[in-house]
Amino acid sequence: MDFQLTEEQQTIEDHAREFAQRVIAPGAAHRDETSSFDRQLLSDLAENGFLGMLVPETYGGVAMGYTNYVLVNRQLATACASTAVITGVCNLTASAVDQFGSEALKAEVLPEICAAKDNLAAAFCLSEPHCGSDAAALKASARREGDDYVLNGTKQWITNGAMSGWYLVMARTGPGAGGISAFMVPAGTPGLVIGKKEDKMGQRGSDTVQVILENCRVPARLRVGEEGIGFRIAMTALDGGRIGIGALSLGVGTAALNEALTYLAEREAFGKPLGRLQALQNMVADIATELEAAWLLTLRAALMKDAGQSVTKEASMAKVFSSEACAKAVDLSLQIHGGYGYVKEYPIERLYRDARVTRIYEGASEIQRVVIAREVLGS
């Protein structure tokens, strides 16, 4: 048993922290305020290997594994949650192609995602307007026509949807959960229509759009693996994705704790620093303790995933616990700030909004609990 980072892990974390604080953090408030993302940053992320963290070097990645992935993702999210989710979705998509795609598909797609070719990202298109957590109910269709598939349907809540070079699209080639297949659709394909950008509460630097498929024709070589394995691809990707969101939540929570600590050290009340008041010390202790516990759950899931073990339960535990610890962290940190926490001059106002979606996307808290219960009940 050893809870210490290895020297290599420490180096990676230090590097990610330095990069995130120098390159990412300064623009975080601007990205939020303007709902924009400077796509040049994608190339900066790519240069550091952060878009292909789970992809082998053969395909342009750095294959650092999940443990290092969560170390990096937490640091990115401490600086800017929007940047972290953009990065996370690129990695999630690339990893799915790497695990399930043919050699030819990997060679075609992965180097472009890892390098952020043309300053473009990647998108993972699973949810639809009528189904999110209940993914097996999706309706988008893929009809085989000769060497092509013709895709029709609407995908909802697609992160990176307006700035991606590649779209991983789940569509139905048959009935039931076993009738779902996955396709890599390149940007610019006729019939791939980008819908309106959602006006979100938080993580406003990342775009979220509808992706509409209107007789969108995709060559069969761009199918990811065999027909019918789409649901398995989605579930496997989400196991990994949930670990990533665990780390992202921790980054936001850590940033909230840091803001609280800074404020407590500066502000005085009743003739002494705020930090001397027990009521506020209690908040600090609870935030720090739950973030530490969340971090260990997240690291455990990542370590197990790297060891090739099944992590369905552990990834869900990491995701639900971290996102809820993050929610508590931003809420208490805002409370510590008092009125200043409610205005945009202090970063906690943004962190509070950024945190909220971590309990919703990549499987709402409710789904995580059902997954965990199913695992522990053996049903």
Binding site: A265, Q281, A285, A293, R300, R369, V370, A373
Partner: protein
């Protein structure tokens, strides 16, 4: 980085689990109802090397580490929380400070038989007028010739009725504040040393808790543990480690309640199906499992840091705080899963609920743990 138990640790855990399942859990309810000290069970724990887990073999212990200790504490407490606290006091509060501060000569008498489980130790720090505020100590000691003379009263002392030896803290230099506190080794039955009545407790009822009363109790000069004035240092360093043990105890109690609730949820039917099929029950089970895993990781991290000689005070406070509050939450929810059956002594969860409460109180209340954590976190941020 590796959070797994290694093969030896896993074998050790299994041995502890077997003892818990076969000898402790089936009897824990009876011991609780009769307030009966489980002497035979403690002897079996000693045979397994559980009374001095992290004490070197040369000093009578098992020569294992603190990770092994918390693994054992979790399993034993899962079987019987009273056995857990009996073991915890002997390991963390008695053997650990004696090992660190005793002279070689003292160790033969005061450590070896205790670490082997032949004798039982206790720790006398808290007083009727002060608990978490250890510096407000009223018990005094003064030197008369070659003897220390102790006067005062210690309260809430676990193992008081069965212990053979006690570490007793007393002020030997009134002018020096907490730097005037010293630690003494006092045998049971020493003239001038008597026990108060056994406390009638809410939980952990198979372990005894009583006052220690010193009225001109004389002990030889050589029974001083460490140097004069070391007492406060001995006490504080001991509590950091003790908290890890209590975290593991809380974890064991939580697991016992969770496992009982899980089994019950699969068996019990309502509206024509097992209650485990209802999302309201599933949620409780999911949250229990998640919080227990989180508490275990915190506990293992604190123990592992202690083993590696890294600072661990913040981590042991976090582990104790989180694990004890998890135990309280899980046992409350477990009763809810059992409904009316959870409220009666025929089922074990009401005992788990009563046992859990003390873990939020002893060896530093939750309120104290939060202050320890907050000070550490704010201090780190300032630097």
């Amino acid at each position: 980085m590796d959070f797994n138990l290694d093969e030896t640790q896993e074998m050790f855990r299994e041995a502890c689990a077997q003892l818990a399942d076969t000898q402790l859990a089936p009897n824990a309810g009876d011991w609780d109802q009769r307030h009966e000290y489980p002497a035979e069970a403690v002897a079996q724990m000693a045979e397994l090397g559980l009374m001095g887990v992290a004490v070197p073999e040369a000093d009578g212990g098992s020569g294992a580490d603190n990770v092994a200790y918390v693994i054992a504490m979790e399993e034993i407490s899962r079987g019987c929380a009273s056995c857990g606290v009996i073991m915890s006091v002997n390991n963390s509060l008695y053997c650990d400070p004696v090992r660190r501060y005793a002279t070689e000569a003292q160790k033969a008498e005061w450590l070896v038989p205790y670490a082997s489980g032949e004798k039982l130790g206790a720790f006398g720090l808290t007083e009727p007028g002060n608990g978490s505020d250890a510096a407000g100590m009223r018990t005094v000691a003064h030197l008369e010739g070659d003897e220390w003379v102790l006067n005062g009263t210690k309260a809430w002392i676990t193992n008081a009725y069965e212990a053979d030896g006690f570490i007793v803290f007393a002020t030997s230099d009134r002018g020096a504040g907490h730097r005037g506190v010293s630690a003494f080794l006092v045998p049971a039955g020493q003239p001038g040393f008597s026990l108060g009545k056994k406390e009638d407790k809410l939980g952990i009822r198979a372990s005894s808790t009583a006052q220690l009363i010193f009225e001109n109790c004389r002990v030889p000069r050589g029974n001083l543990l460490g140097e004069p004035g070391d007492g406060f240092k001995v006490a504080l360093s001991t509590l950091d480690g003790g908290r890890i043990g209590i975290a593991a105890q809380a974890l064991g109690i939580a697991r016992a309640a969770y496992e009982a609730a899980l089994a019950y949820a699969k068996e019990r039917e309502a509206f024509g199906r097992p209650i485990s099929r209802f999302q309201s029950i599933q949620w409780k089970l999911a949250d229990m499992a998640t919080r227990i895993d989180a508490a275990r990781l915190l506990t293992h991290k604190a123990a592992s840091r202690k083993d590696r000689g890294l600072p661990y005070g913040k981590y042991s406070a976090m582990a104790k705080l989180y694990a004890s509050e998890t135990a309280m939450w899980v046992t409350t929810q477990a009763i809810q899963v059992f409904g009316g059956n959870g409220y009666v002594t025929e089922y074990p969860v009401e005992r788990h609920f009563r046992d859990a409460k003390i873990t939020e109180i002893y060896e530093g209340t939750s309120e104290i743990q939060r202050i320890v954590v907050a000070r550490d976190v704010m201090g780190e941020h300032a630097n």
